[in-house]
């Protein structure tokens, strides 16, 4: 190749590569995209509380062999009722732990009771810290995926928060960038109506309506199932 053409050729190749890269749908959920390990005032062992029970001996509560499969929502009770997941009040920790004398002298529990006796809130560090102008609605996602679609709690929470049940203190596993959120909202999800509350809605006037941009007629996938996209409206999260 002529030496003068070398550079233009390389440039063109690069641009084509970028375009091809951009043209393919990417899932931005790379497993190794971990956030920093955040130092917490008390090393709360999530795996102990939420982790799977020991499959061999379910009654064995040896910490090295598994957890207690406590529902995420048992402690993170605000998430289904509010925009914010919130942090459980100290009362909640103490409520159980004052009745568990076996671990009472473990250093973390001792630390916990120090806070309780001083009636001081624990200064937890925020792990999944979105920018200040983003308002993610926990309640809505839990309503839809857990209550309406009946999916398992840990799967639903884990979609954004990762495998918390295997962690000690929580650590970010997903990028939670805007593109990551949007990539999910742009997918056609099959609509499952389970439980008491139907996913669709009630017609107003004589007009059928659907949640999203599309009319129901347009939102059937190849199998003929109803599908819907998540809302695509900036003002849902930024306001």
């Amino acid at each position: 190749m002529h030496r003068y053409l070398r550079f233009p050729f390389m440039l063109a190749s690069f641009l084509v590569a970028v375009a091809c890269h951009a043209a393919t749908e990417q899932t931005l959920t790379t497993e190794d995209d971990l956030g920093p390990q955040v130092q917490q005032p008390i090393e709360f062992p999530h795996y102990r509380h939420a982790g799977n029970r020991n499959p061999v001996d379910p009654t064995n509560s040896d910490p090295t062999k598994g957890g207690m499969e406590i529902n995420c929502q048992y402690c993170h009770t605000y998430a289904r009722r509010s925009l914010t997941a919130g942090i459980p009040p100290l009362q909640k920790c103490v409520g159980c732990h004052q009745n568990i004398p076996t671990v009472r002298d473990k250093p973390r529990i001792v630390e916990l009771f120090k806070y309780w006796d001083a009636k001081k809130a624990i200064p937890w560090k925020k792990v999944h810290d979105l920018p200040d102008f983003v308002r993610f609605n926990h309640e809505r996602h839990i309503k839809r995926f857990i209550e309406q679609q009946g999916r398992p709690v840990q799967e639903v929470c884990g979609y954004c928060h990762g495998q918390v049940k295997e962690m000690v203190t929580a650590r970010r596993q997903k990028p939670i960038t805007m593109g990551w959120c949007v990539s999910c909202h742009m997918k056609e999800h099959v609509v499952v109506a389970k439980g008491a509350i139907p996913e669709g809605g009630t017609p107003i006037g004589k007009q059928d309506y659907w949640y999203t941009f599309q009319k129901p007629a347009e939102t059937r996938n190849a199998e003929g199932e109803l599908t819907a996209k998540g809302p695509n409206d900036c003002w849902l999260c930024h306001k």
């Binding site: 956030g35 920093p36 955040v38 130092q39 605000y78 009722r81 509010s82 925009l83 914010t84 919130g86 942090i87 459980p88 009040p89 100290l90 009362q91 806070y115 309780w116 009636k119 001081k120 809130a121 624990i122 200064p123 937890w124 560090k125 925020k126 792990v127 999944h128 810290d129 979105l130 920018p131 200040d132 102008f133 308002r135 650590r171 970010r172 990028p175 939670i176 960038t177």
Partner: protein, 740 residues
């Protein structure tokens, strides 16, 4: 979530009071200060503040609502406070209350800014030379006790604003325990002449006005949409009145010398020569031609030509008004404060009220008031005559100890009183204050009060709408500053100094209040469990009572009604000064709330400053234009103020709004505008002794300076320049019956 920096700001306070009141910091979704700052995901940078213990109803990110009472004016609107993570965010009207029915005016909305105000007094301050020295409450109480030891009962005086409810009971008990009879209830802007006039004409001080039932409202300077008595309530009545009884839209006619907010909403606004409102009223009676007996005798001289000459109202307008009043009944005639700020104010009021009798409105659109079955809780009604008396006494050196409770007479007293000097003659001056205002600055001891969002209380408004009610005031959040105290708590402590035995059962005012309310549970319409009743009361925010209605006197009071002829213009002071009361600022106690300062005056759209309104004709005559700084001089003094050329004022009058021109009080109030009290002459209404605010005469001189008037209105000056923006049409072009 809250970042660690903000936690530090908050950590000065102990987080151990009632759960819902606890300040959780900016929990939940962040208050994104500079919402465009943190633009990336930053794990582990911020601290989440969580609760130690939490009630079930407290959910981060979800607001809780508590009902209370607005204390910005005396109308007694009930409010609902929106509380998130222990902070009051916003006040809304409480729909339970028949006074404001879920609505709230701008002034009421702004009271959160009173609560969060950075200029509030935070510590008890004892005068030390020119400075205030922070002392403890114990020391302050001791000091008061000590000073009272050295004073006889009659040497102790109290000046307060309107008080009602249990606070009034405690205050009265305290004053009694001191053996003092000197309780001066002072309100700078109070409908005292209205009350006296009503008493004379209708037999009650404050009847219920039913604007919503009237087909025509003729108001003589009553700014019922802006400032008069209970504006939020009247505005709601006004809305119903405009919708109309059986589909006929109500007609509002406003006669006054300076256009008020109500005047700006009138179908016909009449510019009346200042002080001649009574003559106009009699002229209308004459034109109606339906009066008989001594009334007819009284009005026979007030023929159209004469009335028109005296008042400046065109004869055709008098005819039109008489015609519509004759045609549409019932009507309602209102005598407002603007008509009564003269030496002959009572005569004006009588003449205007007479019109109601002639038209047969009494009993139809003027109804008997409901009475509250607890007379000890009803409002003591403030007036200006009390300040005159107090001032005279102070000047005579009669008092050794003066308690000033949340009033600011140094600012609102006419300059000729020299109230500051009089006050200096009192031996020991205690000011209970929210801000270091003009009066607090002159006190020897300043005691910081809780805001109405931190304090307990009960209020009984003077003007009650449908039923009698007691309004509950309860804390919406924990005390913002550790060293402020509620007025009730202070009074309780003080009264305990005197009568320790009687009050020893009560730890604090809350306990007293709860006890007192529960004592009368049956009378308050409660039954069953105390706690249930109490919680129910608190959650509603008001207690509705079945109060009996009084009776109105059907007979018109004609005796002694004699109106003076309008005076010839004074050569030296040719203009009348109308110190106008605006709906934002009123008597100036809220000036330090920035929303109030930045909320444009509805008529001139001016913000952050005072102005003098001059009619265009007069302005042309004097050669002044908008923005000229003029010197407004009265016999008492003078102020320099910017001119706003305003068509809605009688050419013989100029008007300066009240409420600005503070020399102290705080960063948002100090140094903005001028204070018209400073040039007000001390002239008094003939029969009540109230300050006749519209009797000051002034002249105007250019100073040669000119400024740009800070206002929202553009240079087009309220003209639409042919654009179709705000449209209007007359009733014959519109069919209102089709409307929803």
């Amino acid at each position: 979530m809250i970042d660690s920096e903000s936690t530090k700001n908050l950590s000065g306070q102990a987080f151990d009071r009632r759960d819902f009141l606890k300040v959780l910091g900016f929990g939940g979704t962040a208050v994104a200060l500079s919402g465009c700052g943190n633009t990336s995901i930053e794990d582990g940078k911020e601290t989440v503040v969580s609760y130690v213990e939490a009630k079930d109803y407290v959910i981060p990110g979800v607001a809780v609502y508590f009902n209370s009472t607005c204390a910005q004016c005396d109308a007694g609107c009930s409010i609902t406070g929106k509380i998130r993570e222990g902070r009051v965010l916003k006040l809304e009207g409480n729909p339970e209350s028949s006074i404001n029915r879920g609505k709230l005016c701008g002034l009421g909305q702004a009271s959160v800014q009173h609560h969060y105000n950075p200029d509030r007094v935070r510590e008890p301050l004892l005068r030390n030379g020119d400075k205030g020295q922070a002392i403890s409450w114990e020391k302050a109480y001791e000091l008061i006790n000590e000073k009272l030891q050295g004073a006889k009962g009659e040497e102790v005086a109290f000046i307060t604003g309107d008080v009602s409810g249990h606070q009034k009971v405690l205050l009265t008990n305290y004053i009694d325990s001191l053996g003092s009879k000197n309780h001066f209830v002072y309100e700078a802007v109070a409908p005292a002449v209205v009350r006296a006039g009503n008493l004379k004409s209708y037999g009650v001080e404050m009847p219920r006005y039913r604007i919503d039932k009237a087909k025509v409202v003729l108001s003589f300077g009553a700014d019922f949409l802006g400032t008069w008595i209970s504006p939020v309530h009247f505005a709601q009545q006004y809305a119903a009145f405009r919708k109309g009884v059986d589909g006929q839209r109500g007609v509002l006619i406003q006669a006054e010398s300076k256009m008020t907010l109500t005047g700006a909403n009138a179908d016909r606004w009449l510019a009346v020569r200042p002080g001649t409102e009574g003559i106009l009223a009699l002229g209308i009676i004459n034109a109606l031609g339906i009066a008989t007996g001594d009334v007819a005798e009284l009005v026979k001289d007030y023929d159209r030509a004469r009335v028109s000459r005296d008042t400046g109202v065109e004869p055709s307008n008098i005819d039109k008004i008489a015609a519509i009043l004759r045609l549409r009944s019932p009507s309602l005639i209102l005598a407002g404060s603007a008509a009564e700020g003269y030496v002959h104010g009572m005569q004006n009021a009588d003449a205007i009220n007479l019109l109601n009798h002639v038209l047969g409105n009494v009993g139809k659109t003027i109804e008997a008031p409901v009475s509250v079955p607890f007379p000890q809780l009803t409002q003591t009604k403030g007036n200006t005559a009390s300040l005159k008396k107090l001032n005279d006494d102070l000047a005579a050196g009669k008092y050794k100890v003066l308690f000033n409770i949340a009033t600011n007479p140094v600012y609102t007293a006419p300059a000729s009183y020299k109230y500051g000097d009089s006050m200096a003659k009192a031996g020991f001056k205690v000011a209970f204050a929210h801000y270091l205002d003009e009066t607090a600055l002159q006190a020897d001891l300043v005691l910081p009060l809780d805001s109405e969002m931190e304090d307990w209380g009960t209020h009984v408004p003077e003007y009650l709408a449908d039923t009698a009610q007691i309004n509950i005031q309860q804390p919406l959040m924990e005390r913002l500053h550790a060293n402020t105290r509620g007025m009730g708590d202070i009074l309780l402590t003080l009264v305990k100094q005197r009568k320790p035995e009687e009050y020893k059962a009560f730890d604090d005012y809350y306990g007293y209040l709860r006890y007192a309310m529960l004592q009368n549970k049956a009378a308050l319409g409660g039954s069953g469990d105390d706690d249930v009743f109490w919680n129910d009361t608190l959650s509603k925010g008001i207690v509705k009572l079945s109060g009996a209605s009084g009776a109105l006197s059907a007979k018109a009071a004609v005796e002694g009604l004699k109106l003076p002829q309008p005076e010839e213009a004074d050569k030296q002071y040719p203009l009348r000064l109308i110190p106008s009361v605006t709906s934002n600022l009123r008597d100036g106690r809220h000036t330090n709330q920035p929303w109030i300062q930045e909320s444009p005056d509805p008529l001139t759209t001016i913000v952050w400053d005072s102005w003098v309104e001059v009619h265009p004709k007069k302005a042309l005559e004097l050669g002044i234009v908008e923005g000229d700084i003029v010197k407004v001089t009265s016999k008492t003094g003078s102020v320099n103020v910017q001119v706003y050329v305003f068509p809605g004022i009688h050419p013989e009058a100029v008007s300066i709004p009240m409420g600005r021109g503070h020399e102290a009080m705080g960063r948002y109030a100090k140094g903005y505008g001028v204070n018209p009290f400073g040039i007000m002459d001390a002239v008094f209404e003939g029969s009540t002794g109230e300050l006749a605010m519209h009797e000051t005469r002034v002249n105007i001189a250019k100073t040669g300076q000119r400024v740009i008037v800070v206002k929202d209105e553009g240079p087009a000056g309220g003209k639409q320049m042919g654009r179709r923006v705000a449209l209007s049409r007359s009733t014959d072009q519109v069919d209102l019956s089709k409307e929803v």
